[in-house]
């Protein structure tokens, strides 16, 4: 049913650390790899090695450049926490900064992608809040993708290269992040492996998986310590996934003095040997 379930106590989701992410795309590749072969696969590409490869990815990594002063003096509500800052580091003149930004389904608490679905294919699980698409019911009207401001959903118009075991043809149905629901509850996997593929793959540990509905869980604690925020909260979808803001960079004033500045040296402060050297060399 496309009616949203009553809010679940358990809210499984991801927390992504924009400070640590190096933009290596390992999460995106691991996601594609797992889900191509997993319960929700295959995820075929058209012309994967051709001139214009095209296909569905559940997870995509953007890279942004941040310049200028921004609006940080105005006391924005979305101000990241500054408890890790020393007073000599301010963002008043932060240099150019690069931020890598993985983007996937946020498993929102009240998403319209579920309610606009005319068939009941798009649904939110009552037990843990994961948003999924029922492959067998989806008619590919794409209304759910239009209703999502986060770009979480992509339609698969590609036909799998082969369908060996009579799997249904995936062509024409909506695809999205499953939070690796076929991994996290998979008892055939080692317990340490029951995490989403993207989290397992991240080489810098920029991705965390856990229950964001439990305020005492490790990732809820992380979110509150680091000032984790939700994307575009104005839409009212209440994203479960959170992003940790990049830590502020050192400002220009604490950088080594530039060559144009006169350097001052007080010889009286130097140890005797260097004081002698200084005297010899300045002669």
């Amino acid at each position: 049913m496309t009616a949203l379930p009553s809010p679940s106590k358990k809210k499984l989701g991801l927390v992504i650390d924009l400070d640590t992410c190096v933009g290596c795309h390992a999460c995106a590749v691991a996601c594609k790899e797992w889900n191509d072969g997993g319960q929700f696969g295959p995820l075929p590409d058209s012309e994967p090695y051709g001139a214009e490869p095209h296909g569905v990815w559940f997870n995509r990594v953007h890279t942004y450049e941040i310049t200028g002063d921004g609006r940080r003096e105005t006391g924005d509500v979305a101000e990241p926490s500054e408890n890790t800052l020393s007073s000599s580091i301010s963002r008043a003149s932060s240099p150019v900064q690069t931020v890598h930004f993985p983007r996937s389904c946020l498993h929102c608490e009240t998403p319209d992608c579920v309610t606009v679905c005319p068939t009941g294919a798009s649904y939110k699980r009552a037990e843990d809040g994961i948003v999924l698409v029922d492959e067998d019911k989806c008619i590919g009207c794409q209304l759910c993708a239009w209703a999502c401001p986060y770009g979480a959903r992509e339609i698969s118009l590609e036909r799998p290269h082969k369908q060996p075991d009579g799997r249904p043809d995936k062509r024409g149905t909506m695809q999205k992040c499953t939070l690796c629901v076929d991994r996290i509850y998979n008892e055939t996997l080692d317990e340490s492996d029951r995490q989403p593929a993207c989290v397992m793959a991240c080489p810098t540990r920029a991705r965390y998986f856990g229950d964001l509905g439990d305020p005492d869980s490790a990732i809820s604690q992380l979110v509150s310590q680091r000032g984790g925020y939700a994307l575009m909260p104005e839409f009212g979808y209440k994203p479960v996934n959170k992003y940790l803001p990049p830590r502020p960079r050192r400002d220009g004033s604490s950088m080594p003095a530039s060559s144009t500045q006169e350097e001052t040296l007080d010889p009286a402060q130097l140890p005797p040997l260097l004081r002698w050297l200084d005297r010899v060399l300045t002669r």
Binding site: A28, Q97, T98, P118, T119, I139, M174, F235
Partner: protein, 309 residues
């Protein structure tokens, strides 16, 4: 948004079809419709062709058209589902009117069936508009004018097609009908102009807003997530031909308003010229609305495009 031809045909043609049925049902209910069985069956059939072609065209937009029947199930939350149900439900009073129409067309069951046809047709038009107005990430479609525009465009184009049929029996164009059509045309054109003016002032979401990093500075997309186009960039970050938007708006306005309205006035002044005037007006309006609908998609910006700026 990428304008899909299937959806443009759907909204324009089914709008005209359901609009025509609404006029016919309303006139029958009020007992002001001309007598004769053929006078009811012919416009019903014209409406049937438009509505059915439009609805079938909409299934071409689906990735899995063979499963379209599943769309009737989620009427309690989805406007697309409601639109499907309302449109199919409208065929019931349509069949009733077709079966009951005879003689003077003042037969009470005919008038009741006409009233139900009017209500169902208008509900279908409302549901069609709500499919679009319910999508929060597309600010241009959240505009309060979108819903009345869909209703009035349906009434205007459907009314012109009804007139195009009635014109074949010269002298049948009743003054109140013509004046009502002209009033609707003026209101709908004024509304559309004000809608266009308003969406020009909408601020497109940028990367700073989309990433929530705007407070750190000026955020610019340095590198996209893929080297090639993706579904998102093709479907939601569609920018093609926005540069011709102003010319296309002029063309649309001339085709859907100026020309049909002038032809309507001309037909009132020279009743002998009614037949060609009515035919050209109906065709021109439908063509103009196709351009208008193309712009409705092409000029609507989706919030997800912010991630790609």
């Amino acid at each position: 948004m990428k304008p899909a031809l299937s959806v443009i045909f759907f909204t324009v043609l089914s709008g005209a079809g359901f609009g025509l049925w609404a006029w016919l049902g309303g006139a029958l209910a009020l007992g002001v419709y001309p007598p004769g069985r053929g006078n009811v069956l012919a416009p019903l059939a014209i409406g049937f062709v438009f509505a059915t072609t439009g609805l079938l065209s909409s299934t071409l937009h689906l990735g899995r058209p063979s499963r379209a029947w599943r769309a009737f199930s989620q009427w309690n939350s989805s406007w697309l589902s409601r639109e499907g149900l309302a449109s199919v439900a409208t065929y019931l009073p349509m069949c009733a009117v077709a079966g009951l129409a005879r003689g003077s067309n003042l037969f009470v069951p005919t008038r009741i069936a006409g009233a139900i046809l009017l209500i169902c047709a208008l509900l279908t038009l409302v549901c069609t508009a709500r499919i679009y107005t319910s999508l929060k990430p597309i600010a241009a479609w959240r505009d309060a004018r979108v819903l009345p525009l869909y209703l009035l465009f349906g009434a205007w184009s459907g009314g012109l097609w009804l007139w195009a049929y009635l014109a074949f029996d010269p002298g049948i164009l009743a003054m109140p009908f013509a004046l009502a059509l002209l009033a609707i045309a003026s209101i709908v054109s004024g509304l559309k102009l004000s809608y266009w003016k308003n969406i020009d002032g909408l601020r497109a979401p940028d990367a700073g807003y989309a990433t929530g990093l705007g407070h750190l500075g000026n955020v610019r997309a340095l590198e996209g997530p893929s080297t090639e186009e993706s579904y998102l960039t093709r479907e939601m970050a569609f920018v093609l031909a926005r540069k011709h938007a102003h010319k296309l708006r002029g063309i649309a306005l001339i085709l859907f308003f100026v020309l049909p309205a002038l032809l309507l006035i001309a037909a009132l002044m020279w009743p002998a010229a009614q037949r060609p005037c009515a035919g050209i007006a109906a065709v021109s309006c439908t063509a103009g609305l196709s351009v208008e609908r193309w712009l409705f998609f092409a000029q609507a910006k989706h919030a997800v495009a912010g991630y790609f700026r």
